[in-house]
Amino acid sequence: MTTKTMTEVKTNKLTLVQAVTDGMRTMMKEHDDILVLGEDVGQNGGVFRATEGLVHEFGEDRVIDTPLAEAGIVGTSIGLAINGFRPIAEMQFLGFVYPAYEQIMTHASRIRSRTMSKFSVPMVIRAPYGGGIRAPEIHSDSVEALFTHMPGIKVVVPSNPYDAKGLLIAAIEDPDPVLFMEPMRSYRAFKADVPESKYTVEIGKAATLTEGEDVTVIAWGNMVSVAQKAVEQMSGDGVSCELLDLRTLYPLDRETIVESVKKTGRVVIIHEAPETGGAGNDVMALINDEAFLYLRAPMTKVAGFDAPFPFFALEEEYLPTPARVKHAIKEAVTF
């Protein structure tokens, strides 16, 4: 883990969702222009309790319960952002973002270019995403690729509590819209040391979680823990894997990816989104452009299937598993 905790810094053991709350609280304390908008984010504390306590601390003027209308939440946030606020819009699930997609696509992402930088949209859209928590199908969608295709909006996905707080603060500080995807399955899966004070994790920088020589394994969000298990097991078999947590899907950290591939010559990309049109394809294209002559084997992907996310009885079949990842790694190293 790159979770760098300096000894002097006071830290708390937090889950990922608690780190998200902590990130918002830290920033809201410092800046009055930060607002939170969403369904049940006030008294109820949000569907996953990510905004728990914020309404008591900052009042209903800054933590605003909205009607069930995602286009309205995002549209209002865009208006607020243009007028000097820094809104944080919560989608209950990323799969509920579709009504708001038009607002994001047509306005949030392009107001800066449309106004020749006279206006920007400094807002964050927070959205829990991904399968594995036995929620119905649309709740489990992992549609990051819809947003990485859209210039003007950054796409950030933390995989652990430290990165969650650091990246969220960086997203709030960013002058442009950021889609902040929160991996639901990792919300309460484990705790980690998170500094109490304000800090940032740079957007656009991948983390090298383990260093290795034989193959570069690339994952983000929920899939990082799946990859970690596979990588650990492979190291027992004598295969040295370099595990990259991308953390930002747009813009990609070209340098870290390319340097790692130049070192290992082999690539396995893991994402839980359907394979066709997935964000992994862009990683492949980048490697093809910048590290082609270093490849020792075809790049491989372990992904979800080209089907709607299944009901929970089948979700474990749908999601990539350490076994599938191991198989792909073996294929790559024995090609």
């Binding site: 010559g265 082609f292 002559l293 270093y294 490849l295 020792r296 084997a297 090609f335």
Partner: protein
């Protein structure tokens, strides 16, 4: 003028080697008179004259490999002075291929030898100025590995013995990422061109072995009774027949019982196609290399008929005069290496067939029959089969059935009824 071009004499050939001219410049030729002999991958063909006339020009040299469409000979048509217009028309009529560009040998060679290699290996070759197309691969599916490139840099081409790039490659600098080691110099002797029939055999064998999971099983057959029967027939003044003709007849009967070996696997359609014809290919050793003429419809021929047909195709094979028909339609192949002295082999299947048997040397051996040691004429046989299509048990049953016919030739008679 009429241009005689190399045309496709069958099976989509792309090039052929000029082996000899049957006419000289100035000769008068009749229509359909053979002008030139061309060796293709499989057969030697003669190009006949499309018109009666006089040989004006011979454009390709003996030994030259020319592509289909290349003009080889220019003829002046007999009779009244030919108008250019007429000439053009007749030209088009004779040969639809309109381009007459002479083959650029180096380029053709490169295209046909496109090698497999990962980008990483290609980078090593690139950085060391090695033409990767010249490196023979030892990796999976013949892929060129990093080691192959390093070896090439150290030793030069070992299998590709032709062309000038050879010397260039040997002059390259030392491997970028490998320590310098003094290699013992090996003097190169005569080079043998790897093309034509030899190259075709190489391609076919590689393809078969790479695509078919081969299993070979061995068996021994007591051929004493067949030998005896043959002698008896001879003593009665009947025209002698070879033992191999008995083998082929017995194989056909066994194939009828185990048709899965007289088949092809259609992977695309996911079907094993059982053939209704029994066309037995005979692996023949010729000066040019291995070629497989086919005894067509072996099931419809008597043993004497098989004998005659075998003799005919083998003779044509030796003379390099096999027709396309003699070489096509095989459903099962036999390699009779016994006369050459072999006692065992793991033969490569004649793709896309499913199996192949090799018959080995027959020799007198002490054998236990009814608790007594007797001297019998024993022969080893090897059978390679496609393990995707059949399993070992079926293959063993097949050869056992074959052995039964050979060991007791009268049983074959029952099958003939």
């Amino acid at each position: 003028m009429v241009e005689v071009k190399l045309h496709d004499v069958g099976e989509g050939m792309t090039e052929g080697e000029i082996t000899q001219y049957l006419v000289n410049v100035g000769d008068h030729v009749k229509i359909d008179q053979p002008l030139v002999e061309v060796q293709t991958d499989k057969v030697s063909a003669e190009l006949p004259s499309p018109v009666a006339g006089t040989v004006k020009e011979i454009l390709a040299e003996v030994g030259e490999v020319v592509t289909v469409g290349t003009t080889v000979i220019v003829l002046e048509k007999e009779g009244a002075a030919v108008t250019p217009h007429e000439s053009k028309a007749s030209q088009e009529k004779e040969e639809p291929v309109s381009f007459t560009i002479k083959i650029n040998k180096g380029r053709a060679e490169r295209q046909s030898e496109r090698v497999l290699a990962t980008p990483y290996t290609r980078r090593i070759a690139l950085e060391n100025k090695v033409d990767i197309e010249q490196v023979s691969g030892t990796g999976p599916a013949g892929r060129v590995t990093d080691e192959d490139v390093f070896r090439f840099m150290k030793e030069g081409p070992s299998k590709t013995v032709e062309e000038t790039s050879h010397e260039e490659a040997q002059q390259t600098t030392e491997p970028v990422s490998e320590k310098k080691e003094e290699a013992a110099p090996v003097r190169a002797g005569k080079t043998i061109p790897y093309r034509g029939r030899r190259k075709q055999i190489g391609k076919k064998m590689t393809h078969s072995l790479m695509t078919i999971p081969h299993v070979t099983h061995f068996d021994e057959v007591d051929v004493t009774n067949v030998m005896k029967l043959r002698e008896e027939l001879k003593a009665e003044g009947i025209k002698p027949v070879s033992v191999a003709s008995f083998f082929i007849k017995a194989l056909v009967f066994a194939l009828k019982e185990y048709p899965v070996f007289n088949a092809v696997l259609d992977e695309e359609k996911e079907e094993i196609v059982l053939k209704e014809e029994y066309n037995i290919g005979l692996a023949a050793d010729t000066d040019e290399g291995l070629i497989v003429p086919v005894v067509q419809g072996a099931d419809r021929l008597s043993i004497t008929g098989i004998n005659d047909e075998m003799k005919r195709v083998m003779k044509l094979a030796k003379e390099n005069k096999l027709s396309k028909k003699d070489l096509s339609g095989g459903t099962f192949t036999v390699s009779n290496v016994g006369p050459l002295g072999s006692t065992g082999a793991t033969p490569i299947i004649n793709h896309p067939e499913v199996a192949l048997v090799a018959f080995h040397k027959t020799k007198k051996m002490p054998v236990v029959i009814d608790d007594e040691i007797v001297i019998r004429q024993m022969m080893n046989m090897s059978m390679s089969f496609d393990h995707r299509v059949a399993d070992g048990a079926t293959a063993v049953a097949f050869t056992s059935r074959f052995a039964e016919f050979i060991e007791n030739p009268t049983k074959m008679m029952l099958e003939m009824m």
